[in-house]
Symmetry: C4
Subunit: 250 residues, 4 copies
C-alpha cells in the first residue's frame, strides 16, 4: 500500500464547490457538523482516502462487515453553493503526516474545482457554554467582513495556541496554494461531545453559503448530551468526581 491511496467512487460535476473539513477535534464539533451535513443533505460519496498515517484498523458494521479506516469526501448539493464535505475518524499520526494528508485533501478539492475551504472545529472554554459564539480565523484579511456579517467573532491573537491539526493546515497550506480558507470554531466546554456547538457552527455556515439544513437529529443528540451533562453536574455537586475525570468523558 502506498502512503496515501484515493479511491474514486463518483465524480459528479460540481459548480465551484466549497471544501468543508470536519475531522475529530475539540468537542468533536467539526466532525459532528460535517457529518450532519452529509446525513441531512443531498449527498453523494465521491472519494475515499486511505493512508498509512491512520491507525492500522478496520471498523465493523452492524452486519459484521469490516471496513478499512479512511477519510471520505461527499458532494452535498444545496439550494445555495455546492459543498465538498470531508469527514473521517482520525487525524494523522505524525507532524509529517498532517502536512501530507492535508496536501492530499487539498489536491482532491482542487480537482473538483474548489478554491475556497472552511475548516470546522471547536474552541475550548473550560466551562459549560451558555451562548455558542463562533470564533473565526482566516488566511486572507479580505474574508473577514463576510464572516462578521453572519455573526462570526474575531478576537485578537485567539485561539492563543494557534490552530493545530488538519484545520490549521487547511488555512496554512491552503494559503500557499491559493485557497481562501477560514476556520470556524464553535465555543465548547472541551469536556463533552457538543452537538449544540456544532449547530452554532452550521448556522453560521448556512447564512454564509446560503443553504438550509434540518437540525432535528442534532437536537436529539444535544438533548442526550444534556442529560449526560446534567448527570455529571449532579456528580460534581456530590463529593467524588474530579475535574480530571470530567476531562476524559466524550
Amino acid at each position: 500500500m502506498k502512503e496515501i491511496e484515493i479511491d474514486e467512487v463518483a465524480t459528479p460535476e460540481l459548480d465551484d464547490p466549497v471544501l468543508i473539513e470536519g475531522l475529530p477535534g475539540v468537542g468533536h464539533v467539526g466532525k459532528l457538523a460535517a457529518e450532519h451535513l452529509v446525513e441531512e443533505g443531498d449527498s453523494t460519496l465521491v472519494r475515499r482516502l486511505y493512508t498509512t498515517e491512520f491507525p492500522p484498523q478496520v471498523t465493523v458494521d452492524d452486519e459484521g462487515v469490516a471496513e478499512l479506516t479512511c477519510a471520505e469526501f461527499h458532494a452535498v448539493e444545496t439550494e445555495g453553493e455546492d459543498l465538498l464535505v470531508l469527514t473521517g475518524d482520525h487525524q494523522a499520526a505524525s507532524n509529517d503526516g498532517h502536512y501530507k494528508l492535508t496536501s492530499a485533501f487539498l489536491d482532491v478539492a482542487e480537482a473538483f474545482g474548489a478554491d475556497r475551504a472552511f475548516a470546522l472545529g471547536g474552541v475550548p472554554t473550560g466551562e459549560l457554554v451558555e451562548e455558542y459564539t463562533v470564533l473565526g480565523a482566516i488566511n486572507d484579511a479580505d474574508m473577514r467582513a463576510d464572516l462578521e456579517d453572519v455573526g462570526v467573532e474575531f478576537r485578537a491573537d485567539e485561539p492563543a495556541g494557534g490552530i493545530v491539526g488538519v484545520s490549521g493546515l487547511v488555512l496554512g497550506l491552503g494559503d500557499r496554494r491559493g485557497f481562501d480558507a477560514a476556520c470556524m470554531m464553535g465555543e465548547t466546554s472541551g469536556y463533552l461531545v457538543d452537538p449544540k456547538s456544532a449547530r452554532a457552527v452550521l448556522e453560521v455556515l448556512e447564512d454564509l453559503l446560503d443553504f438550509e439544513v434540518d437540525f432535528g437529529t442534532l437536537e436529539e443528540r444535544a438533548e442526550e448530551m444534556e442529560e449526560v451533562a446534567g448527570k455529571i453536574q449532579e456528580m460534581q455537586e456530590g463529593p467524588s468526581v474530579s475535574e480530571d475525570e470530567l476531562r476524559y468523558i466524550g
Copy 2:
C-alpha cells in the same frame, strides 16, 4: 538491510491454500492457535520474513544460538484444506509499519496461490470466561452464512473499537486486493494467556476447513493457566491484589 527481507526456505506446491494469521494480541489467542497448528500439524517452514519494523532483537535458543527475530510462514497440509500459517513474536512498531507488513504478508500468501485468509485473535470481555464464544468479522457479507454454520457469532458493531493491528488489516487491505478474509476472535478475559480460547477458535476453524488437530498440548497448557488463574482468584479474595496488577499478568 532492506525494510523487509524474505528468505525463501521451501516452496512446496499448495492447493489453493488458506492464509491463517496468528500474531501476538489479546490473550495471545491467535498466536497460541496458529502455533498449535504448526506444532501439531504436518508442517513445513516455507518463508522467514525479517523487517526493520520488528525490535532490534535476537532470541537465544537452548543451545545459546541467537536467531534474528522474524515472522514465519509454515505450510500445513491437512486432510481438508492446505493451510499457510503465519506466526511470529511481534506486530509492527508503527502505523505505517503495520500497513507495509500486512501488505508483505499478503504478497507471500498470494504467491502461494491463496485468496482466502483467516485472522485469529481474542476479544477481551473483562471477566473470566465460562463459555468460549467465537466472534466473527468478515470483509465480504457473503462469508457470513458459512461462518455462522460452524458456530461463529456476529454481533452488530462488535468489537466496538474495531479490529486493530495485522488482523484488522488482513481484512481491510485483503479486501482491497481481492482476498475473502474473516477474523475469528475467541472471547477471553484479556488478563491472561488463554489456551482455551485458542482451542475454541481452532475448533471453529476445523469445522470450517474440514481438518482435525489434536488438542493434547493445548489442554496441558490450559490446565497450567487454570492453576495460575486459580492462584490469582485466591489472591483476589485476599486483600492485596488490585485489578490493575491482574491486567498485566501474562
Copy 3:
C-alpha cells in the same frame, strides 16, 4: 508539501554576514536575544522556511489572520558586521529532523555568503542568577581568545550534557562544512523566561561584532519577569508551591 520549503522574500546584498541562531530553548534566552536584534535593528525579512518537522499549526495574529508556522531569517544591518538572524517558534520534532533542519539553515546562510555562526542560548543553573555569566563553546580552538576578550567564559567539559538541538548542530554540522561557529549560553535559572540573560548574551555579541542595540524593550520585559519571579518567591516562602510547579512556569 516537501519536507522543507524555503520562500525567498528578499535577497539584499550582505557583506560577509554572520549567522545568529535563536530558536526556543532553556529560558528562551536565545529566542529573546535573536528576536530583540530583529525588532530593534535595521532588519529585513529575507527567507521563510516551512517544514513538516514543525507542528501542523498556524498562529493567529491580531486581525485573526492565520500564518503557517515557520522559521524566519532577517538580514540585520549594523554599524559593525552584517547579521543574518534566524528566529522561530519551534525546534524539529525528531532527531533526524534536527539534522535536516540545521543543514537547511546552514544552506541558507551559505547562500548569503556566511561562514561564521553564533548559536545563542541559555544554560540552566537551577537557582536564581545574580550575575549573568555567558558560557561559551566553539567548534574551532582558534576562536577562543576572541570570545574570552569580550567576557565569554570557558569551563572544561561544560555544559556537562553537551549542547542539544539546533544550537549544538550549528557547531557540529557547521564544523563539517567549514563554518567557524560558537555557542554563547547565558546563565539562567531554567525556571523562567529570562530577558536579563538574553541581554547578557547580546552585550557579548555587541562587543564581538562591533554594533550597538537599544535594550529598552528587553528591560521592560525583564521588569515584568522580575515581578513574576517576585510573586513566585513569595509563594515559595508560603506553604504550597513545589519546585516542580515552578519548573513549568514560562
Copy 4:
C-alpha cells in the same frame, strides 16, 4: 547531512581483524570494556560514523571545543589478533535505525577484512554480583566449544528476553552476511556502572584472542564504584532510599 556519514581517518592494513562492539547498555559493561581496550592498547582512530539516528548533540571537551556526537572505530594491534573496536555514546533512536546502523557498522568491519565479531555487554542479575560470570550467545553452534574453553557460560534460553540493540543485531544481521559472531555478557547488578564486570568480559576476550591488557585504570574505576556502592548500601540500610532510586544511579 545523509542518514549515515563515515569519515575515513586512517586505513591501516589489518590482518583478519576481529570486530569488538562496545556501545552503551546494561551497567555500561560493553562500553567500559571496549573503551578500555582503546585506551590501554596500541590503538589508532580509523573511522568516525555520524548519523541522524544519534541525538542532535555535540559534546564539549576540556578546551570548550564541541564535537558532533559519533561512533568511532579504532584499530587496536595486540600481540595476538588485530582488533577493530567500535565505541560510542549512543545506540540508535528507532527500531529501524538500529538495523541501519548495525548494517553500516558491519560494512566498515567487512571493508577492513573482518568476518568475526564480538559484541560486549552486561546481563542484569538484579542483585549485587560476587562472582563475575560471563554469559555467552553465538550465531553459529560451532563457536560454542572455543568460548566454553575460556570460561564463557551458556545457559539454555538465556538471556530470557533475548539480546536487544546493536549487540543483538551484530549476531542477527552478522549471521545473514557471513560473520561468526558472539555476544559476551558480564553479569552485573544492573543498578550501577560496573568496571568489574567489564574486566571479567575482557579477561575472557584476552584468553580467546591471545592478547594482554593492563587493568590498572579499570581497577581504579572499580574501586571508585565500590565506594559508591558502599555508600548506597549504607543508605539502603538507612530508612529512605528505595530500589527505584537506586535503579537510576549510574
